[in-house]
C-alpha cells in the first residue's frame, strides 16, 4: 500500500509538472469559458426580465449555478483523457504499462487528478478578475450539510467523469477512430449533465428519468447540492446512493473493457 502510494505520488508530481507547461492553454481556455458564462448571463437575465423566479429559483440562484458549473468543470471535468488513452492504445505506447507493475487505470486517474488540480487553480484567476462584476449575481446557501455531502458527491463525479472518458478511450481496442463517439457522448453529457440548463427546469417526468442516468451525477448533482437546487439532506443522500452505484457500475465496465480489449491487442516491436 505504502509502495503504491509512493509510486502514484511520483506520477502525480510528474503530472503537475507537465500540466504546468500547458498553463497558458488552460488560462486561455478558462478565459474563453468566461465568454460562455457571459452568454449564459445575457440569456438568463433576458429570460428573467419582469420575473422574480423561474422554476422556483431567482436570477441570482440560477447564475450562481452556472458559475459553479464553470468552476467545477475545471476541477472535476474530463478534458481530453479519452483521446490520450486512445492515442496510447493506437500508438502502442500502452505496451510499456503492460510490462511494468503499474495499474494503467490508476496511472491515468492520477494524471487526471494532477491535471484538474492545475486547471482548477488556474480558473480561479480569471474568475477573480470578473468577480467585481459578478458578485451581485452570486448567492450560495450556507447550510453546513451541503459541504459535507457536496464533497463526496464531487469526488464521485470526478470518478464518473474520468470513468466515462476512460471507457471511450478503451474503445480504441475495437475502433480506429473514436472522435465521433466522443462528440456524440459529449452532446448527451452536456444536456443531461445540466450544462445547458438546470435539469430541474425540465418537465417533471424527464427530470425524474434523468436522475437515474450517470450524466446527472457528472456535474449537475454536486452543483445542485452546493447551490441549493437540492433542498434537503435526505434528497442528497438518495442521490449519493445512486451515484455510488454508478461509480461501481462504471468501474466494472472499465474492468470488462480492459480485459477484453487486451485480448484483442497486439503489441508489435520492441
Amino acid at each position: 500500500m505504502r509502495t503504491a502510494f509512493h509510486k502514484y505520488r511520483h506520477v502525480f508530481l510528474v503530472g503537475v509538472q507537465s500540466n504546468l507547461v500547458y498553463r497558458w492553454n488552460f488560462a486561455i481556455r478558462a478565459t474563453f469559458s468566461l465568454f460562455h458564462l457571459i452568454a449564459a448571463v445575457t440569456l438568463w437575465r433576458a429570460a428573467f426580465a419582469g420575473k422574480t423566479d423561474i422554476g422556483g429559483f431567482s436570477l441570482a440562484e440560477t447564475l450562481t449555478y452556472f458559475v459553479t458549473l464553470m468552476v467545477l468543470q475545471f476541477f472535476i471535468g474530463a478534458f481530453n483523457e479519452d483521446y490520450q488513452v486512445s492515442e496510447e492504445i493506437r500508438n502502442g505506447l500502452i505496451n510499456q504499462f503492460l510490462l511494468k507493475p503499474v495499474n494503467y487505470f490508476a496511472y491515468r486517474f492520477t494524471l487526471f487528478v494532477s491535471a484538474r488540480t492545475i486547471s482548477g487553480l488556474l480558473v480561479l484567476v480569471p474568475l477573480a478578475l470578473v468577480m467585481p462584476f459578478l458578485h451581485e449575481y452570486l448567492t450560495l446557501p450556507s447550510d453546513p450539510w451541503r459541504l459535507w455531502m457536496g464533497l463526496p458527491a464531487l469526488a464521485m463525479s470526478a470518478v464518473i467523469q474520468f470513468g466515462i472518458a476512460f471507457c471511450f478511450g478503451l474503445l480504441s481496442f475495437w475502433f480506429l477512430e473514436i472522435q465521433s463517439f466522443v462528440i456524440l457522448s459529449f452532446a448527451v453529457e452536456t444536456v443531461l449533465g445540466g450544462q445547458v440548463f438546470p435539469l430541474d427546469l425540465m418537465p417533471a417526468g424527464l427530470f425524474r428519468l434523468s436522475q437515474f442516468l450517470p450524466y446527472y451525477y457528472q456535474m449537475y448533482f454536486p452543483a445542485a447540492i452546493l447551490t441549493g437546487r437540492i433542498a434537503t439532506p435526505a434528497e442528497a443522500a438518495v442521490g449519493l446512493g445512486i451515484q455510488a452505484c454508478w461509480v461501481v457500475a462504471l468501474l466494472g465496465l472499465i474492468h470488462v473493457l480492459w480485459t477484453r480489449g487486451l485480448r484483442r491487442h497486439t503489441a508489435v516491436g520492441g
Binding site: 452532446a187 448527451v188 445547458v196
Partner: protein
C-alpha cells in the same frame, strides 16, 4: 487566373469531398447524427426556457427559433464550406506542410480555404433551413420571392463575417505557432449569434453588438424575415462584412510574408 478556372478547381474539390464521403459512409452518418443532435440540444434549451417565460428580450418562442435557425444556417455553411480547409491550414502552417498549398497555381487564400467540404455540416444546413421554414410557418409569415432573396443576401453577408472571423483566428497561427486548437475559439465568440440583439445592454451591447459582429450576422437576416427589410441594417451588415473581410485578408497576407517554409 480567370474566375472560370477557380470555379473548375472548386468543383473538383466538391467532387473530391463527395467521393471521400462515399468512401467513409459510416463516418458521414455518425457525424451527421452528431450535427443533428447538437441542433436538438439547442432546441431543448429554447423549449425549456419558454416553458417558464413568454419572451426573451421581446422575442417569442418561434421568433427565437427563427433566430436560432438562422444562426445555425450561418454556422453550418461556414463549417460545410470552409472549416475543414481553414482548420487544416492552421495545422499545415505549424508543420510546414503549407508549402504544398503555396506551390499550387492559384491564389493562396482560395487554395487554402476551399480545399475540403464537410458534407455532414451541410446536412446541418438542411436541418437548420427546416427550422427556419417551420418557425416562419408557425409565425404565420408569408415571405415573397424578393423577401427570400434579400434574406439570402443578408445571410451571405453574415457568412462573410463568420468566414473573416475564422480566417483571422486561423491566421494568428502564423505568429503563435504553439497555440494548438485556437480555431475552437470561433465557437466561443459565435455563441452569441443565437442571442437577440436586444438582450445585450450597456457595455455588453457596445462590445458584443457593435464590436464583435456575431450578433448582427444572425439578428439582421432574422429580423428582415420577421419585420421586413431595413436598408440601414442591411448597409450596416454589408459594410461590417466588407470591413472584417478586408482586415482578415490583410492579416492573412501579412502572415504569409512571415511564413517560412519548414521543409527546405
Amino acid at each position: 487566373m480567370p474566375a472560370i478556372h477557380y470555379l473548375r478547381i472548386w468543383l473538383a474539390c466538391v467532387r473530391y469531398s463527395l467521393v471521400r464521403m462515399m468512401m467513409f459512409r459510416a463516418d458521414f452518418i455518425m457525424w451527421s447524427l452528431v450535427e443533428v443532435f447538437w441542433v436538438m440540444v439547442n432546441l431543448m434549451l429554447i423549449g425549456v426556457i419558454y416553458r417558464h417565460t413568454d419572451s426573451i428580450a421581446g422575442w417569442g418562442p418561434y421568433e427565437m427559433l427563427l433566430l436560432f435557425g438562422t444562426s445555425r444556417l450561418l454556422q453550418g455553411m461556414l463549417m460545410g464550406f470552409f472549416w475543414s480547409s481553414l482548420f487544416e491550414m492552421g495545422r499545415n502552417i505549424r508543420t510546414g506542410q503549407f508549402d504544398f498549398t503555396l506551390a499550387q497555381p492559384g491564389n493562396p487564400l482560395f487554395m487554402a480555404a476551399t480545399r475540403k467540404l464537410d458534407m455532414d455540416s451541410l446536412v446541418n444546413v438542411i436541418a437548420s433551413a427546416g427550422i427556419v421554414v417551420y418557425a416562419v410557418h408557425k409565425l404565420g409569415l408569408h415571405p415573397g420571392a424578393l423577401d427570400l432573396a434579400l434574406y439570402a443576401a443578408l445571410l451571405g453577408s453574415g457568412l462573410v463575417i463568420h468566414f473573416a472571423a475564422l480566417l483571422l483566428i486561423t491566421s494568428a497561427t502564423f505568429w503563435l505557432i504553439g497555440t494548438q486548437g485556437i480555431e475552437g475559439s470561433y465557437f466561443t465568440l459565435f455563441d452569441f449569434a443565437r442571442l437577440p440583439r436586444e438582450a445585450f445592454r450597456g457595455v455588453a451591447s457596445l462590445f458584443f453588438v457593435y464590436g464583435l459582429p456575431a450578433v448582427i450576422a444572425s439578428n439582421i437576416p432574422a429580423s428582415a424575415l420577421l419585420h421586413g427589410f431595413n436598408l440601414t441594417h442591411a448597409l450596416w451588415l454589408a459594410l461590417t462584412a466588407a470591413g472584417w473581410l478586408a482586415l482578415a485578408i490583410f492579416v492573412f497576407n501579412r502572415g504569409l510574408k512571415r511564413y517560412s517554409s519548414a521543409s527546405s
